[in-house]
């Protein structure tokens, strides 16, 4: 279909630029001057900066450690009346061994391999880890794969993200560099707060099509 016209269109662009041959040398994009483009130095103390920006981005934040996280998580889910909860599969989340402790509180926890997309629409909450967290903007980078469903941080009204200090990168420039170092994945999403709109008379409403409540458990 369209593929047959492809060389043609690149030729049209080339002609528009006044050339009849492909350029012989690879063009070099403008250098990115970090004194202009960088907002956070790699050497900066990222933890307080991330937490401050996360609060500004309207994330809810709780500081936790490995011992009290399961308890805090369970208490949070109970307080939000969550009954059906979905979770990504990762060594970090497996280590917490939440399933049994939540079951005793009548919370049904399903890992991503136990879920179908249809059931994912019924979730009250999704729990995920993150691929990276950007101190500059408090953006959480989610990298989906077979163990990390896209739906977990999108469909439910509540998203819980477990963030570890090792996830932190300073600046968006550091995130894009981290991304450049891997094979381009089918999708990466940066989450910078609860889903919102200001379409109606500019008044802010949270929780449109994504989670209206995002809880960060910052694990130290």
């Amino acid at each position: 279909m369209s593929d047959t016209t492809e060389p043609n269109l690149i030729a049209v662009v080339r002609k528009a630029l006044g050339r009849d041959q492909p350029i012989s040398t690879v063009p070099i994009p403008p250098a990115i001057d970090e004194s202009i483009a960088r907002l956070v130095d790699t050497g900066a103390d990222l933890r307080p900066l991330f937490l401050q920006n996360a609060a500004e981005a309207k994330f809810h934040i709780d500081l936790v450690n490995h011992e009290n996280l399961p308890e805090k998580l369970a208490a949070f889910l109970k307080s939000q009346n969550c009954q059906l909860v979905g979770m990504s599969i990762s060594p970090l989340l497996e280590k917490l061994d939440l399933k049994e402790s939540l079951k005793s509180r009548d919370i049904d926890l399903k890992t991503w391999d136990e879920l179908t997309l249809d059931v994912a629409y019924e979730l009250d909450c999704g729990i995920t880890d993150v691929w990276a967290a950007v101190a500059e903007t408090a953006s959480l980078a989610i990298l989906p794969d077979t163990k990390h469903g896209r739906a977990l941080s999108l469909f439910p009204p509540i998203h819980i993200a477990i963030v570890e200090p090792k996830n932190l990168v300073a600046d968006l420039l550091d995130l894009t560099r981290k991304m450049s170092a891997i094979q381009p994945p089918p999708q990466i999403t940066l989450i910078t707060g609860p889903s919102k709109t200001a379409d109606i008379e500019g008044s802010l409403v949270t929780g449109v099509h994504g989670p209206g409540f995002v809880q960060i458990f910052f694990l130290e």
């Binding site: 279909m1 369209s2 593929d3 269109l9 049209v12 662009v13 002609k15 528009a16 630029l17 492909p22 063009p27 994009p29 403008p30 990115i32 004194s35 202009i36 483009a37 960088r38 907002l39 920006n53 991503w112 997309l117 994912a120 629409y121 903007t137 953006s139 077979t146 469903g149 896209r150 999108l154 600046d171 968006l172 420039l173 995130l175 894009t176 560099r177 991304m179 450049s180 381009p184 994945p185 089918p186 999708q187 999403t189 940066l190 989450i191 910078t192 707060g193 609860p194 889903s195 919102k196 709109t197 200001a198 379409d199 109606i200 409403v205 929780g207 449109v208 099509h209 994504g210 989670p211």
Partner: protein
């Protein structure tokens, strides 16, 4: 592109807008809020002007080498397992997308906000082809069910108030009238969630295409674009060829400017970077990915070295919010999906200066748009150049041309200049005799005195005063 047969009367449309007090208030307060937000957020950058300059250079470099980057992008997308389609015209793009849907047996489309799809009126076309298409951005959804048109690049229903939306929802959903924005949003959410769940084709535009990695970037606040790229089995992104940037690092630069310029946020809520089918064993994400690259007049602008710079635009809407003309008349008066200063520039470039010759005049050339532009498009300069083109192509009126010929004739001779000057002075001073102010002028000059009085000219001209002193 061929000149469209479209009728466009800027005076009529802008006068209609100026007569709508509610519209003026809505647009004025919304643009002011976004303008203030941008000012505040840009100030957080270490050197905002230098960053705008860098972003402009990145876009300009890409445009100047677009053949190379286009080829690189196509290779990268294919390497990742995506399909690439080229569309020379809007018609090509519409057909290509319909074919993709037909071939994959898709019937239910969820579409996220995209200016380029407005440009080629894609939604309307697919609906008439019998597909169930729903706009999923709240603003665009409201535009769709009210058969309206977006009036702003970022905030499509800036011109609507909550009462009109409440009436619309009450009628559409058969529910009691409720004008609370939160309730209205909940209603739309519930309706659209069902659509997400059962959709088989997702559609997006793009803010950026990254040539090196073959990825598409779409930013948003609601999560509907995320739904479009997550649930349906087929994903189609329709994008203009000018959206390409070379590398992921360039994306970081652009992201620092885009949301700040558009809505005064450091980042939008969701930044979606995608462009490949799901990997084996994945439960969500599309099984097929199609990138449709659109020309539709862009290569003609690219060929014009003077106007090529206008293709840098990242559709943030900052120039609209800053423009004293847009702030008064809103978006519909521009007669195109691209309103405001950038629209006044690219609409004539896309659709022909003949029909849209009023648009380059719809500016006071104050420069607020240039100051706001995150990629430093010199909009006032181009508007002046376009006014020059209007004169060169004899698109201005016969009377105007005659007037300027007369004026040039008078200005060339000191004697005629003095004579006409004294006659004019005599007439104006006579008109101001009664009250000390000129309150009424004839013909073309009447517009001035309709809304304000004018003081009479001095008794002696500057030339006379100068002579007397020496």
């Amino acid at each position: 592109m061929p000149e469209t047969a479209e009728k466009f009367n800027f005076n009529e449309l802008s006068e209609k807008a100026l007569g709508d007090k509610r519209l003026m208030l809505a647009v004025a307060s919304n643009t002011q809020r976004q303008y203030d937000g941008r000012q505040q957020r840009m100030a957080e950058l270490p050197n905002p002007d230098a960053l705008r300059e860098l972003a402009g250079q990145i876009k300009q470099h890409t445009l100047d080498n677009l053949d190379f980057y286009l080829q690189q992008l196509v290779d990268s997308v294919r390497r990742n397992g995506g399909h690439v389609h080229f569309a020379s015209t809007g018609d090509d793009a519409r057909r290509i997308i319909l074919n993709i849907a037909k071939k994959a047996g898709c019937k239910r489309i969820i579409k996220s906000k995209s200016m380029v799809s407005e440009e080629i009126e894609l939604a309307h076309f697919l609906e008439s082809a019998g597909l169930d298409l729903v706009e999923t951005d709240l603003g665009e959804f409201i535009v769709q069910i009210s058969h309206d048109k977006p009036s702003h690049l970022v905030a499509p229903i800036m011109h609507k108030d909550r009462a009109s939306i409440a009436r619309l929802f009450s009628e559409y959903f058969h529910t009691p009238y409720n004008d609370d924005p939160e309730s209205l949003t909940k209603q739309a959410r519930a309706f659209l969630r069902d659509k997400f769940r059962h959709a088989d084709l997702g559609m997006t535009g793009a803010n950026f295409l990254i040539a090196q990695t073959g990825q598409v970037c779409v930013v948003e606040n609601e999560g509907n674009a995320r739904q479009s790229i997550t649930t349906p089995r087929v994903l189609v992104s329709l994008v203009g060829i000018e959206k390409i940037i070379p590398r992921l690092d360039d994306l970081a630069v652009m992201l620092k400017l885009l949301a700040r310029s558009a809505t005064g946020q450091p980042m939008t809520i969701y930044t979606n970077i995608f462009g490949a089918p799901r990997q084996s064993g994945e439960k969500d994400g599309s099984e097929e990915f199609h990138l449709v690259l659109l020309d539709n007049g862009r290569t003609e602008i690219l060929a014009d070295e003077e106007y090529r710079e206008t293709l840098r635009c990242i559709r943030c809407g900052a120039c609209l919010n800053a423009c004293p003309v847009y702030r008064k008349i809103g978006g519909h008066a521009y007669g195109s999906v691209y309103p405001g200063p950038i629209g006044a520039l690219i609409t004539p470039l896309f659709k022909g200066l003949g029909t849209f010759k009023d648009l380059p005049q719809a500016s006071s050339l104050c420069g607020a748009c240039y100051e706001a532009c995150p990629v430093k498009i010199n909009i006032p300069k181009h508007l002046i150049n376009m006014r020059r083109d209007i004169v060169r192509q004899h698109l201005n009126g016969r009377l105007e041309r005659m007037f300027y010929r007369l004026w040039a004739w008078g200005m060339r001779s000191p004697f005629l200049y003095g004579l006409i000057g004294s006659l004019q002075k005599f007439d104006l001073r006579r008109r101001a005799k009664k009250t000390g102010w000129i309150q009424k002028l004839p013909m073309a000059a009447s517009g001035w005195t309709q809304v304000r009085d004018m003081p009479p000219p001095a008794r002696k001209t500057f030339h006379q005063l100068w002579k007397d002193r020496n």
